[in-house]
């Protein structure tokens, strides 16, 4: 199935295929919405993760807080942001990490009007195919 949105750079559209791949990862993340689950997770991350049949790659990305890798493996940011929030990282700082810019220069970019659309529409503009 051709996906007309696959040529957008630096973007994962969370479609049904990604949702299927990331299901148990995302369902783990969403449990962290509640304090009692955060407490259990923070007390013993490995043991908590045993309750969710995610892939070894997903599990490793959770433990290492590899924020982009989590998306590559089917995570969605509304879910992974719950893991970030548990670590005291808000949406803006999470974006700072995912872009590779770092928190400070990302915040600076946003104050100056954000990332321009020019040069950011197509993968070809990023030198990707």
């Amino acid at each position: 199935m051709k996906k007309d949105y696959e040529d957008i750079p630096g973007t994962f559209v969370f479609d049904a295929d990604r949702s299927r791949e990331g299901y148990h990862l995302n369902q783990f993340c969403i449990t962290l919405r509640l304090q009692k689950n955060r407490d259990a997770f923070n007390a013993n991350e490995e043991a908590y993760l045993d309750g969710f049949p995610m892939t070894p790659e997903q599990r490793e990305a959770v433990l290492k807080r590899e924020w982009n890798r989590l998306l590559e493996l089917g995570g969605n940011v509304y879910y992974t942001s719950k893991l970030a929030a548990n670590d005291g990282i808000n949406f803006q700082n999470l974006a700072g990490l995912m872009t590779g810019m770092g928190v400070e220069s990302y915040r600076e970019m946003m104050l100056n009007g954000g990332r321009s659309i020019d040069g950011n529409r197509y993968k070809s503009e990023w030198g990707e195919e």
Binding site: I8, G10, T11, R33, F91, G114
Partner: protein, 284 residues
């Protein structure tokens, strides 16, 4: 009979709620965001709707990945602000016009919209932030001063409903409201957007030209605007910019001819362009 008299489009950035809840709205970063809602709060106080029909999206709060309804209409008596990971927002419980919600649900299903009816539902910032910016500071023991019928739209998992479907849903909501016998003044909110991308390497995308075009066409060419394919939102307005499809529900529920009585646009609030518009039916 009940009538929809006006529509409100408004972003629902969570950080705006946090700014209000922590009392930092006068800080230089936030002051211009809130300045744009001064008119709106006065307008709300004058307009005094009995019911707000509030179109929003849940952000993996009431709905996790196990159940993903395209359109979920809230038919419960009340909706409690949810804990999204930082404790629930300190705002009032949201009260429904339950009889009207049931009526609208039945009418929409017979009108061939495939609703999911929710008789229990928590509500997240997608619903409470629009109420906060339009009604001002309210504590948990206060009352919003309005009944709210919530409609949650899936925009998290692709595909969201098409703009055209949303626009036509607005028309069906209007028919449903106008066939409800109580004499009620209803204002409809479409929320979410404007341009923003929260994820991956392109995060931080802001496209003011797109946003301005969108706000303009709500008055000048709403039907044409509603035909825009999803890929244009995703590319031009960022992966989370697709939330804007919800504004078409609001627009579809109004007259063909509307007057724009207020507009507010500001960058940034956290990762997002804040957009806000008030449209009145000409004969309201």
């Amino acid at each position: 009979m009940a009538r929809i008299t006006a529509g409100v489009g408004v972003s629902h950035v969570p950080a705006i709620g946090v700014a209000m809840d922590t009392g930092i709205t006068e800080q230089p970063y936030w002051q211009p965001v809130f300045k744009g809602f001064e008119f709106s709060r006065k307008w709300m106080a004058e307009k005094k709707p009995d019911v707000v029909f509030l179109v929003y999206n849940d952000h993996c709060t009431a709905f996790d990945a196990s159940c993903i309804p395209t359109f979920a209409l809230g038919a419960a008596a009340t909706f409690t602000p949810a804990d999204e990971g930082y404790g629930p927002r300190p705002v009032p419980v949201v009260k429904n016009h339950q009889k009207m919600a049931s009526h609208i649900a039945q009418s929409l299903i017979l009108d061939e919209f495939d609703l999911t009816i929710m008789n229990e539902m928590e509500v997240d910032h997608g619903l409470t932030v629009p109420l906060s910016v339009m009604y001002g500071d309210k504590k948990p023991e206060d009352d919003w001063g309005v009944l709210v019928i919530p409609l949650a739209v899936n925009v998290v998992q692709y595909p969201a409903p098409t703009g055209n479907r949303c626009y036509n849903l607005g028309k069906a909501i209007r028919r449903a409201v106008e066939s409800f016998p109580e004499d009620l003044n209803v204002v409809i909110f479409g929320t979410g957007g404007m341009s923003h991308q929260l994820q991956y390497k392109r995060a931080g995308l802001i496209n003011p030209e797109f946003d301005t075009m969108f706000l303009d066409k709500l008055t000048s060419d709403p039907v044409g605007l509603s035909k825009m394919p999803h890929v244009d939102y995703l590319r031009e307005a960022g992966s989370e910019g697709v939330e804007m499809v919800m504004w078409h529900v609001m627009r579809g529920a109004l007259d063909d001819d509307v007057v724009e009585v207020h507009r507010h646009y500001h960058v940034p609030a956290s990762n997002t362009a804040v957009g806000h518009i008030i449209l009145e039916n000409k004969n309201a």
